[in-house]
Chain length 648, copies 2
Amino acid sequence: MDISQQERTYETSMADKSTPSSLARYLDGEFWETKDHIREEISQGEPFRTSRFVISYWWFYPTFLSYVDHHDLILWWLRFKDMLFYVSIYMLFGVLPSGPQLGVVCGLFGGAVTNLGSPGQKKKWYLPVTDSEFTGMFAMTERGHGSNVRGILTEACYEPSTQEFIIHTPCEDAQKMYIGNSMKGNYASVFAQLIINGDSQGPHCFIVPIRDRHGVMNPGVTAIDMKHKEGLHGVDNGILIFDNVRIPRTNLLSKFGCVSADGLYSSPVQNKNKRFNAMLAALTPTRLGLTVQAIAAMKVSLQGHARYDLGYRRQFGPKDQQEVKIIEHQTQYLRLMPHLAAALALTFTTRFAACTMDHALCKGEVLQNNSSLQALVAGLKAYSTWENLACLQECRECTGGMGFMMENRIPALKCDSDVFVTFEGDNVVMLQVVVKELMTQFTRQLGNSVVGGLIKTWTSSVSDRLRTSFLGFNVDTVGDLSFLLKAVSYRERVLQRSLATRLYNKVKKKREEFFDAWNSCLHHVTSLALAHIHRVTLEQFALAVQECPVEEDHTLLTKFCLLHGTSLVYQERAWYLEHHYLTPATSRQIRTQLLELCRLVKDEALKVVSDFNVPSCCIQAPIAGVANPRAEWAFYSAPEHPIRASKL
Amino acid sequence: MDISQQERTYETSMADKSTPSSLARYLDGEFWETKDHIREEISQGEPFRTSRFVISYWWFYPTFLSYVDHHDLILWWLRFKDMLFYVSIYMLFGVLPSGPQLGVVCGLFGGAVTNLGSPGQKKKWYLPVTDSEFTGMFAMTERGHGSNVRGILTEACYEPSTQEFIIHTPCEDAQKMYIGNSMKGNYASVFAQLIINGDSQGPHCFIVPIRDRHGVMNPGVTAIDMKHKEGLHGVDNGILIFDNVRIPRTNLLSKFGCVSADGLYSSPVQNKNKRFNAMLAALTPTRLGLTVQAIAAMKVSLQGHARYDLGYRRQFGPKDQQEVKIIEHQTQYLRLMPHLAAALALTFTTRFAACTMDHALCKGEVLQNNSSLQALVAGLKAYSTWENLACLQECRECTGGMGFMMENRIPALKCDSDVFVTFEGDNVVMLQVVVKELMTQFTRQLGNSVVGGLIKTWTSSVSDRLRTSFLGFNVDTVGDLSFLLKAVSYRERVLQRSLATRLYNKVKKKREEFFDAWNSCLHHVTSLALAHIHRVTLEQFALAVQECPVEEDHTLLTKFCLLHGTSLVYQERAWYLEHHYLTPATSRQIRTQLLELCRLVKDEALKVVSDFNVPSCCIQAPIAGVANPRAEWAFYSAPEHPIRASKL
């Protein structure tokens, strides 16, 4: 620690300016120039540049940072008018404490207006948000209804005489709960049962004024601060209670349903269920946003781990010799390398999902009609947020006491992203969304003849199409990628087919209530959903490997792709053994292969984390080589990967 | 929420006073009277009674509570002169934030003095601690040496002319790091290399004055505050640096080695390795303390989950019918019930370990000679602390947003107990301690003839003795306990034998360096250690079931014991399939059995958590039925289990 603080900071920022490697470019993908531009902006950005100390402070002591500070930062984000642009910022670099707040204000409130409102309503309610004229909130969840949104109890009764809706909370279970920005925001998009003449038309979304610009509450609205949470201190969560609050008829977001002055309801979607699902589709983009934030948290935490454990820490070793680097311990690389591989797989898969969404939106498709995209995003959200928590925990444990110190950011990342697994749709519910779509595809393919189809599709299920496209793709170094691809695809297909059979038997033959039949298969359901999303991530990773133009990068990515596939099959080897897909001998071979691949890639970990190309102002962890004046003692200068070092 | 705050509090404290059920008594074990006395004391205790509000506050906002407040609480604990008594308190009821601080002051500093000092030294250094005359700290870990204590770099050079040791930090890696109580404490037990005439006699423990009662630092000692951590805000962690600090010759704790005035070293243990291991044995009791704290955290978090999810929360359900309680969802009970079973298994196993330790201490045995006890405690520490983290995470996720709110305590319990998995011996290192002992037992049994022995012991290994003692024990309701006991024992035995063979081949035949051979088997090593501790927990649970006198309790415990065993075998079913111990059909049967047992016991969960008999002043979670004036909105009155209700 003999270099002064200034020099260190300078060094780090110099390193940032070096030309990204070919792999870094490839990981950025098609829009690398935009992303480089964002990196430049963020590194020069007011909050990061002039108040570096404050930002550092903010990473360390999220509890101590007032909502106001976060709010300033959000206003800074908001100056980028281009939605994609600022959303990319928080997504890319793991700015978690304020990320969800931004998500609430723009993604959720804005998303509701954009997806559920008429063009006039968009102009009225969405543009002012991006101009920071007022902020919004998204009031869907109730005390009694988190996951089962259809059962919400808040009422919106239409009164023809005044042409108003009366928004009301009829009971405790109907209180809107965990509502982000509820202690500051001006307008809420409130989901409530639309009631005309005593009949409910199902949940609809209404714009309800909460408080004016001076903070004066709208009469009849109560907001209760829920105060302290495990993390996400940049978001104020509260309870909203409505006591017969009157809003104009035009405050009903009218894309999927509107009420005429004299109280006649009309909707372009006649079926109530479909209408409801169409409204829920508004959540799809923010769910994808959560996935990208989870990946960003993984990337940041893996930086710290890789640089500290590969660069410095030594412990134990051969007798009378220097101790070995801690990453050389078999358990250490076995715990961490699969997460690095998963972070890569998720990077490519998320880009695939985002492209699919982009194409759909460009072609003018409405997301709500693309249920397979919704299912993909739901599955990705569940898998990535759980994978992130597991990764953060391993990073914490593998960096020992250093990982427990707030300065090194892993604790705050853990606390902030913990809630990702249950909000914007609880992960277990998300997995059920995936499987409902898989079952729909399955029965559609069978032309509604479930029994005949079960046999017919044995050899040509939905997933076979993708599977066979990889048959020619063969890598034979330490494992066989086509074998792994076929294995994960086989598992999905068998689970899908057997679930269909079980449900058919229970519902059609034994006449069980559908809910009970489904519930008694819930473990099967969640296994299928994860099998599906595992298969998709491995395929997307394999495609990215196939298309990688630089040989050196291709070789490196191949190893990580094999590791990801091996790790997926290893986790489920019991299932493969049960289904005679693996023999006891090949199952043991999978374990050996996993250990061998982890050992093989560990020395490449530094290169990969460098090539994530996260600006140092977003890393902020002393063990990852970014100095902090408040914790001099925690600083370890970033070790350079040989390949990268030669470029400096 | 129509009952006033006072009434609620009264209700809860009334519930506390009801006679414990027979199961609660059985779970308390032999010393139930002492434990009831502790419950009484703690419920009446100053910090809990008069400053209830402060305590509540403290649970919610650990970050905001100054060290001083924790310190006051610790002084309160300390008035119980009986070590066992106050240690029981923090162990029993999950008082985590100050628990480890107490552990540092009494368990670690006190433990070092008690285990490593002469009778005179105990009188001089230990009694004043219990009289609160001064406080101590335990300075073992260094920046460069956490797990590998033998490699510590701090020096203690003897100077015959002054009869002093000179304690010195020769380099950055030698700084004592993460030292608890370092910003307030008066004396440190410092581990350093004892150097006489330039030769090291290995690590020894020295009492070094850090600051006087007025806080004035001893010259040459620097203490740096490491400040903010993920949790355990009741402990101040810091860095200690010694610049040629002089201490009298008599400050070397002399049980295992002392230096005469003229610089001659003598020790009752000639072998350097054995001497070092004997010193490390001082850590055994505090490791057991960590296990009990982990179990307490599980019990507290399971209260909240069980009472909220079993009592109130409903979501989804059959068409046109009331939604079902959330615990009725298959995934929900599958995620939680195995943790409840594990909490019971750990309760009995920890009591077994504590009794073994008690007997050893009563017989005047020195712990350092009881390496099998050390291994048991090391294994229990690793298993229980990981199991606790998994349990807390599931409770957090399964209680949704409520579990994320600080009021409900799960976040603070998670943050506080996270570090348990890496401190007082990193869990991966603990597992290696277990296996070193298992390998020693193995080779001892073979009379050093490793090869012949490998075959000979196939049918009569160490664990067979215990295994066969259960052969007559058969429960045939939904599963077969003797089958499960045999399975976990078989797995341990095979892993032990195959590890011995692998190590033998690598070291003896291929002449590999022992470290490299061991490291290339590290995944095997950790699997064996966990298999061992799993087997012990199932056996101890089975014994407790067998001895349970009340039929009703016996029946209930049997179900949970079967669940614990089924869950252990299910986790490792891939291994059993690889070894043809399970067929694909029986493996699937294990899964069905797991689902069925979880479904079966879910309705008993409320009774079990009640019978943990944790005083409500230690629960403090509104979702578990303990009201809090700062979070009225989070209160759900505790649902009564039918059996318990009838007794009120």
